[in-house]
Amino acid sequence: MLRALVAALIIGLAAPSLGIYLVQRRLSLIGDGIGHVALTGVGVGLLLHQSPVLSAVVVSAVGAVGVELIRQRGRTSGDLALALLFYGGIAGGVVLVGLSNDSSNANLMQYLFGSLVTTSPQDIVVIGTLGALVLVAMVTFRPALFAVSNDEEYARVSGLPVRTLNLLMAVTTAVTVTIAMRTVGLLLVSALMVVPVAAAQQVTRGFRSTMAAAMAIGLGAAGAGVLVSAEIDTAPGATTVILALAAFVAITVGSTAWRALRRRAHPPQEVEPPDVVLQRA
């Protein structure tokens, strides 16, 4: 139980720190796509009698780098590339897990929806180390990653190693997905990256404050998710995601209501002059 809590807290902190960049570059669903690919990695691991986590990291990193290269070429739309990834990943995973000796529905479900309770001390070490690496990378390179996600062309003209930073993001996404697989499961991984960011940005004004708030919400949802799920006997991963979504709804409703109240209390003093827009023929 304590191990499960620690693992969940690490993921709750690391996932939104990465997710904010994905949301910023409109790749909110990439985590989901990589999650599907990671299932193929799990299948490979089970088939070869290797650690499924290790093989999932490798296969999903390859998948993430592949998507990034496709995106850079601009040949296939990001949307289509994601679709190919989703279907290929999940189909490959189901087939490979089926081929392996210890194939069972329970085994598959454990990866699809998480299985915190079976977290071993070894898993904690892996999750902790990789989670810390993700966190450090995302926080250390915040100015550069922000610049690349905000305006990629400007970043290129600034001489930033844009391609390397994009690949760093791709590999980090793969690592985060794989370590979060134990907590929330591959199908819900993306929620933990995206929902806290969506909730935070309802009330924040800047990028740094959004990142901090999203990490706090992720941490809270993950911690509460584990405790609540133990209490009412539900799946911890799904409970965590539901709590994060509840935070999103509460913050959205609260901030809208607060803004409406404030507007009534202090009507705007002056209206800004309308912008005259030049005709661009």
């Binding site: 550069a144 004004r205 800047g206 990028f207 827009v277 005709q279 023929a281």
Partner: protein, 271 residues
């Protein structure tokens, strides 16, 4: 190396373009363009829509691959150019808003990366440069506001502040005043004037110069993939030439006739 380029090196060519040709998907956009911008000059690249003027500037910046010909930046072939901090780029508009908020200060701070590198955390010199650049464009009071709450003209001034924060020697601007309100255009021209007066070099693409007209040392008109005119900024064709024309149009102007087309032009359809 051509005579032109070596002459530029002997002089002080900041941007040197030699017989440049650029094409996308087999369609040639620039056929044969040569251009030399020297230190301290303010140069406008003009042309009708579709003439290739934006492609020219994007190729100079390395965002579009060179087909044929050569480009040198500060006397160094563009492919080997590393000193990007000397160059400040002002794109047409802020990247598509993604929903993740960012403050004006955070966007402008990106302009320091070229100088600082990605490994060093921002220091007091970076913060001072950001404040200085925002003061210059008159937006210091908005430093903690989300950029999404700014008007189009203020967002454009944020982008020029981002470029200025890196303390560049050369500013490259892609249609900086397109879609910008009159007050911001004036502020823009004033900022560029101060930059040029301090010895900075400016290369800008424009559809119409507006308040920037007096700053321009010379202009190059791109037409049909070539430089059709090089010299003083030509008088615009159509009703832009009329005295008192303030270069401000309502957004959905009912009539398309007379939209700035720099002669010579073949009246490409407005899009």
């Amino acid at each position: 190396m051509s005579e032109r380029a070596s002459a530029a090196r002997a002089g002080n060519g900041v941007v040197e373009v030699c017989h440049l040709a650029v094409g996308y998907d087999g369609r040639e956009i620039l056929r044969d363009v040569s251009l030399c911008v020297r230190a301290g000059e303010v140069v406008a690249i003009l042309g009708a829509n579709g003439s290739g003027k934006s492609t020219l500037i994007r190729t100079i910046l390395g965002l579009v691959p060179v087909g044929r010909g050569e480009i040198e930046l500060f006397g160094v072939p563009q492919r080997r150019f590393k000193d990007w901090a000397r160059l400040g780029y002002v794109p047409q508009r802020l990247g598509a808003g993604s929903g993740v908020p960012a403050t004006v200060g955070e966007v402008v701070a990106s302009g320091r990366l070229a100088r600082r590198g990605i490994f060093r955390p921002p220091g007091s010199a970076d913060r001072a440069a950001v404040r200085e650049a925002l003061t210059d464009v008159g937006l210091l009071d908005r430093i903690d506001d989300p950029v999404a709450t700014l008007s189009g003209g203020q967002q454009q001034r944020t982008l020029i502040a981002r470029a200025l924060a890196g303390k560049p020697d050369l500013l490259v601007l892609d249609e900086p005043t397109a879609g910008v309100d009159a007050a911001s255009q004036e502020a823009f021209a004033a900022v560029l004037g101060r930059f040029a007066a301090a010895g900075g070099t400016i290369l800008l693409v424009a559809h119409e110069l507006g308040p920037m007209q007096p700053l321009i040392d010379w202009a190059a008109v791109v037409h049909d993939g070539r430089i059709a005119h090089e010299g003083p900024a030509p008088e615009p064709a159509g009703h832009h030439a009329q005295p008192g024309h303030d270069h401000v149009h309502p957004h959905a102007a009912p009539q398309r006739a007379g939209i700035c087309e720099w002669a010579p032009t073949d009246r490409l359809p407005a899009n």
